[in-house]
Amino acid sequence: MRKLLVFALVATFAFGATALVATDADARAMANGIVGSAHDFTNNRDGSVALDAENNLIPNRDESWNYRGEICRVCHAPHDKGRTAWSSWGEEVGETGLLWNHALSQTADYPMYASSSLEGEISNQVIGKSKLCLSCHDGTVALNAFDGQQDKPATDPDAVLIQSFSNGFTIGPGRTGSDNDFLMGTHPISVAYAAGFYDENPKVGRNGGLHIPDGQVFGNLVKMTGAPTVDMVLEQGMVQCHSCHDVHDSKDVNAVGTRLNRAGQGLAENRGGDPSGLCLSCHNK
């Protein structure tokens, strides 16, 4: 028992406040940078521990599938480690660069979002950085399919993201066990906001429409002092996944308690303290 206590204390100090905060099982954002965040896949990344059936201390977050124990490498690698992945789908990834190192989803036919009130043009298929997010988050590719291992079967069946009510890691109605590629009605991505010429989208600059993205700050202004403005998170003028979600959990960018959102969702402090702040950062309602 004493050993257990000592280990817990050491682990707590070693990983600082992160370990204290990281009690929520679904790894909500901590806005402390990628180290220790939901996207840090080093084994036992936050230092939190649990007991197994024999009362042995084990890492709470087993990421042993990440064979080299690096953070960035699961998605990015310089030089030629991910060359196969890059060249296989270079047409899509090449334009985005980012030293991409993870196998892409072979799903090429996502039913895209549509709306009778949409003024910005939406791409026929997912493009740009959203395609990179989907290489894990459509639930069809194993997390460990990186570093040229994309043709290998997942070494851990749990390494493909799943979705449940409390652990919503895949997009789409994955809770019903299929249709993870269904973006219609739910995911307005690869849609033009404005690429500097705001008359392209008649809603921009209008009351009831969309704010002009240049210099437009997200959510709670005081809290998000270091955060980028809306124009900086568009990709060639398009709204993509990363426009709302700061996937690297950058310090002072995310609203604590949200899904890496750049602004708050609810009034409660652990939900950003800013009711619908994320939506209203762009929508001038």
Partner: protein, 244 residues
Amino acid sequence: MKKAYWNYLPLLLICLAFPLVASAGNGLGIKGSKHDFSGEDWNNGTLQYGGEVCRVCHAPHDRGLDLWRDADVSGLLWNHKMSTAEYSMYSSNSMAGTIEDQPIGRSKLCLSCHDGTVALDAFGDGPNNGNGDMDTALTGRFVIGALKDGSNLDLRGHHPISLQYVDNDKIGTNGGLHDPADQTWYDLSSVALSLEQGRVECHSCHDVHNRVSVPNTQVLRAGIREGQGGAEHASLLCLTCHNK
């Protein structure tokens, strides 16, 4: 002489305060407006998703996907349970535009609360799972049609929605309708943009997000009494489209 200026101080304060009072909760965006439910008890029932503004009607990702499939209408990330009611549609022997058999498009979304048959807290997939508590359903003057015969479902005589405006024989004629492409509301926003695929729907007259609406109206896009919203004459709302 200098001291006399202070006599005007109360007047000055009143002048400064008046615009704040007159515009409170209107025309300032959805926060603090009639459609901001973030502080309502029924919107705080779930720890995970309570207390938001937009979520009662809209949510990204798949939280309300089944609700959206029911709605099968106009996108908008719809997240509220729809009404299954059938309505008696508006009719008139002077109408030149065609009217749908049932409300369609975004009016259908408004009716998912404003026909009084669906609970306000029937949204998302939280514990209420799109069912909610009917104690929260709208009553009285918040229900359209209620003034007519109490059935809530009768749009005849008072709510001409899902009604074609564009390509209409009355457009461009005196006594008929203005061309919507040429017309602007009081805030200079386009009448054409407030139509839905050329049709008049609820949101054509009511700005439900309260951003461009006139204070002290039912979130209308123009005043209906003289002076209201700066209107130079009464019935500005009607006369923005009707060339009378």
